[in-house]
Amino acid sequence: MAEPMVKLEGIRKRFGKLEVLKGVDIEIAKGEVICILGPSGSGKSTLLRCVNLLEPPEEGEIFVEGNDICRGPGSGAGEQSWKLDFVRQRVGIVFQQFNLFPHKTALENVTLAQERALGRPKQEARAKATELLERVGLGDRLNQYPETLSGGQQQRVAIARALAMDPHVMLFDEVTSALDPELVKEVLDVMRELAEEGMTMMVVTHEIGFAREVADRVIFMDGGVIVEEGPPAEVLENPREERTRQFLGLVLDR
């Protein structure tokens, strides 16, 4: 069997006294799309942010493409710059709050990291940025500033921005939760296309419909542990665990 794209072993994470992740194991194969569901406080966002080392875990191992990117506390390995660079240029992330750079145009948002972090020449960066922005349907808004764009448009720019770094894995942290309902579809469409093109994706979301249609695997988390995982048909239609059932009941009732 091929090396999994992402492997998390025994991840534990604490914030002060509160233990948010209590031992999580996940393996994700190349091209797999997994959706993570769960109530707030379940640790799902934290888990995502561990994968690109925004929140280095206290205990556990994370492997990206077979490389151990954090050897746990004590070795300080999470801070070593080569590991950070390695991770962050292979793992892209899109945030719930978009976090676009307000002082840069859409185009500049997508070229900045290319030029600075990857050292790509200006022309190349611009070409790539233009292509990506067109792909997400924003080719006509290259020179506009984020504040003139709708939430959905901003989030699409954010996706393009992350894609510009040619990541091998894309993380999505509740990227539609802050959007007005009518703007959600355009973002999900982009994500769907991405999945169809074979991108490995970890998606934390509340969009059950999306999970049902696009995910290869659904993971339900609660209280810092994985409660249940499996193909969407199983987990979403016929959950085994009581907790899963409860959560879905609440969510689907909406």
């Binding site: 801070e79 962050r88 892209g92 709050q97 978009f98 976090n99 900045l112 972090a117 990857l118 770094m165």
Partner: protein, 247 residues
């Protein structure tokens, strides 16, 4: 009552010494210009040093914070006197540093500028810090997640946004700095206050001091108004809500 006016508003005295006091005031402005430029730069350096992330730079952060705390607390007058009183005697320093006469300005000028830069570096560092900290954390996270180094993220994303929030408080610090240039009179730098005191002891009249005060007011009052306007504008922006705030 007429005594009061004679003592403080004697226009003859003001007229006769107008030129001297003006020249002195220009000296204040010169000290201000030099010290402000240096303090704004030094403050930014301090603010960035204070922000260095990670375990290894901890001693640097510690020293920087200690520096800022200390020099915000010590009265500038003390620093001026310590520098001018002690530095000339530090024989391990070359003479051109001990008794600086750079660019034709006397040693008292440079002692004064140094003291002001040391102290106002600390004050401006705090203003920068407030500006930097006002930039949402998500910006830094996004930049770092895209693979930019801490320094790159600071330079291209955080600091450019941070400095847009600081003009008002920074201008306040600069106004303070302009006024504090008068402290250098205590080590006999020929600026407006010193000149006015000489007039005082010669003519037994304080009108030159009044004149000096007027010069300062003329320059500073418009600046203070600008600060007020900037603050009002910031308030308006916040209440109109131009950010996307997610709980």
């Amino acid at each position: 009552m007429s005594q009061f006016f004679n003592q403080y508003f004697n226009f003859n005295v003001m007229g006769e010494h107008f030129g001297e006091v003006l020249v002195g005031f220009l000296q204040n402005l010169l000290v201000f210009a030099v010290a402000a430029a240096l303090a704004l730069t030094w403050g930014l350096v301090l603010a960035l040093l204070r922000q260095l992330p990670g375990k290894k730079p901890m001693p640097i952060r510690f020293v920087t914070i200690a520096y800022i705390d200390f020099f915000r607390a010590v009265p500038i007058l003390i620093i001026i006197l310590m520098i001018s009183g002690g530095v000339p005697f530090l024989s391990f320093l070359p003479e051109s540093v001990r008794i600086p006469r750079w660019f034709g300005r006397p040693d008292t000028f440079w002692y004064g500028v140094t003291a002001l830069v040391i102290v106002y570096g600390a004050f401006t560092a705090e203003v920068y810090r407030a500006g930097i900290e006002a930039v949402p954390r998500g910006q830094m996270e996004a930049a770092r997640s895209l693979g930019m180094s801490h320094f790159q993220a600071m330079r291209h994303v955080v600091v450019p946004q941070g400095v847009t929030k600081i003009p008002a408080p920074m201008l306040n610090e600069l106004i303070s700095l302009l006024k504090d240039t008068t402290l250098i009179s205590v080590i006999a730098l020929s600026e407006s206050v010193l000149v006015s005191r000489e007039v005082l002891s010669e003519r037994l009249n304080s009108s030159a001091l009044t004149l000096t005060a007027i010069f300062f007011v003329i320059i500073i009052l418009p600046l203070a108004r600008v600060v007020d306007k900037l603050i009002a504008r910031q308030q308006l922006k916040i209440t109109r809500g131009s950010h996307i705030e997610v709980a």
